[in-house]
């Protein structure tokens, strides 16, 4: 155990709404209390882990047999053809995905 366990973050409705905005989710008012409670309970349950001391083990386990991030030559691969890439587009025009205006006039 760390000698100075960090204080537990409080999951309150304001934090939940901020997290939802980051995740581009809009939560119905009717669900805010329930989700605040659920998320709070999970974070509280994970407190042991957050406070644990693993003796300075920092590395992410290597993929078996791979000792380093695999690299490849900087050669172009075979991308999807434009019509393949656009085939599922909700809106498309002139070989482009159409999106709403992103810059205010």
């Amino acid at each position: 155990m760390s000698p100075n366990p960090p204080t537990q973050p409080e999951i309150d409705p304001q934090m939940l709404i901020r997290l939802a905005a980051l995740a581009r989710l809009e939560l119905p008012t009717s669900r805010v209390a329930e989700l605040t409670s659920q998320l709070g309970r999970l974070v509280a349950a994970f407190a042991d882990l957050a406070a644990a001391d693993f003796g300075g083990v920092h590395e992410i386990p290597p993929t078996p047999g791979a000792l380093a991030t695999p690299l490849r030559d900087d050669e172009p691969g075979t991308p999807l053809r434009p019509e393949q890439a656009l085939a599922n587009a909700p809106r498309q025009a002139n070989d482009c995905f159409v999106v709403p205006r992103v810059i205010d006039a």
């Binding site: 980051l22 995740a23 644990a52 693993f54 992410i60 909700p90």
Partner: protein, 487 residues
Amino acid sequence: MNTPWRASALELSAAVRGGATTAATVTRTLLDRIDGPGANLRAFVATWAERATASAEAIDRRRDQGEPLGPLAGVPVACKDNLLVAGEHASAGSRILSGFTAPFSSTAMARLEAAGVVLLGRTNMDEFGMGSTTETSAHGRTHNPFGEGLVAGGSSGGSAAAVAADLCPLAIGSDTGGSIRQPASLCGVTGLKPTYGRVSRRGLIAYATSLDCVGAIARHAADLAAWLDAVSGPDEGDATTVPAMAAVSPTLPDAESLRGLRIGVPAQLNGPGVSAEVLQATAEAQGVLRSLGAELVACELPNARYAVAAYYLIATTEAASNLSRYDGVHYGLRLDDRDCTRMTTATRSAGFGDEVQLRILLGTFASSVGFSDRYYGRAQEARRALANDFARAFRGCDLLLSPTSPTAAFPFGQGDEDPLTRYLWDALTVPASLAGLPALSMPCGSTPAGLPIGLQLMAPAGADGLLLRTAHCFQRHTDHHLRRPLP
């Protein structure tokens, strides 16, 4: 062949190749079975009758022309709804991918089709792989063939139910924290999660990139060996596939003995939180393994106590990143495009189900400024510590053993109120996932009510073949994997 639905994948292929039956006949029979006795299970989201019939007829023509065919030629196979098959819909169980048609086939499914299988259709799953019951799918719940109103497990519940109900002998799925093994356990069939990096993830709709594995479910371990041989190997389309991993033979020796095999029984995975009937069944299975010559030894995985927390912090952080691609721009659902933020928010809020939204929120929390070191960072340390535990355990034994799931199948709706209850169901399967190790679940008994119970075997990285050989030997001396809930 009067009852092709009772044959193993290898037996079916041998019958097709030898002319005892045709792939077209077998395919038609199973498609009828899916619509008949299997209709109420909702194991399948959709069947691909035209494609399946055309593939089957092509196999029959190749056989008639004397072409050599492999051990899976003509085998009808189901594919989880998160594995792309070119030209077919894939939705990962989500409304947000309604109408999405795959522009290419996943490497795993492409290799299987090249091996001559017949794709019957796509199977139901928890949305984006997030769940252990196949209750969160936008397509409805899958029933366990051993009891209507009971969960099939998840997230590959449709695949497990399909095999258990003899709708197909082999079904492909994915396993991130137990999503092959746990439904296999609850449905009384055999499920394999290979070593991470053995099977390409290209074309698998991502949940958690460092944990997702393509796997398979069958009644027989021998069928899984043939499947693994067909799909394994490096893929330029997935940089995490490992080039130098020990090959797995497509055929398993009919060993009579497990003499010389040492199997560790980690205390942390063989007691706490597991129901008495599951412990009883796995104790009996240990007795069988001993009678076959295996030596069972006690061992420890001290950091397994952190496995559920580590898994859910890492998996949801990766999921929050992976699922950010669903924004209404490139594919799938699109709502309210008055401006970009409104479009993305409205699309995601309506398109993702409740469990997916909760996990995205958890992952967003765990990776946000001020919390990421303490939660996501600490979870990665726990992951390495657990991998070290496994490495130490494997110095003294060849395999590890535990129950696959703390309980047998249970009614729909359990755990609805409390996500933590649901997440603890994964306590026995997430350790191997975190360490990237191969793991298998095979039937080992049943409850007094007749519900299946699964035994999990875990192996060092790359030792998938040892898992399969051990399971095959066990299955040659037991008949739990032959229990059939439907006639």
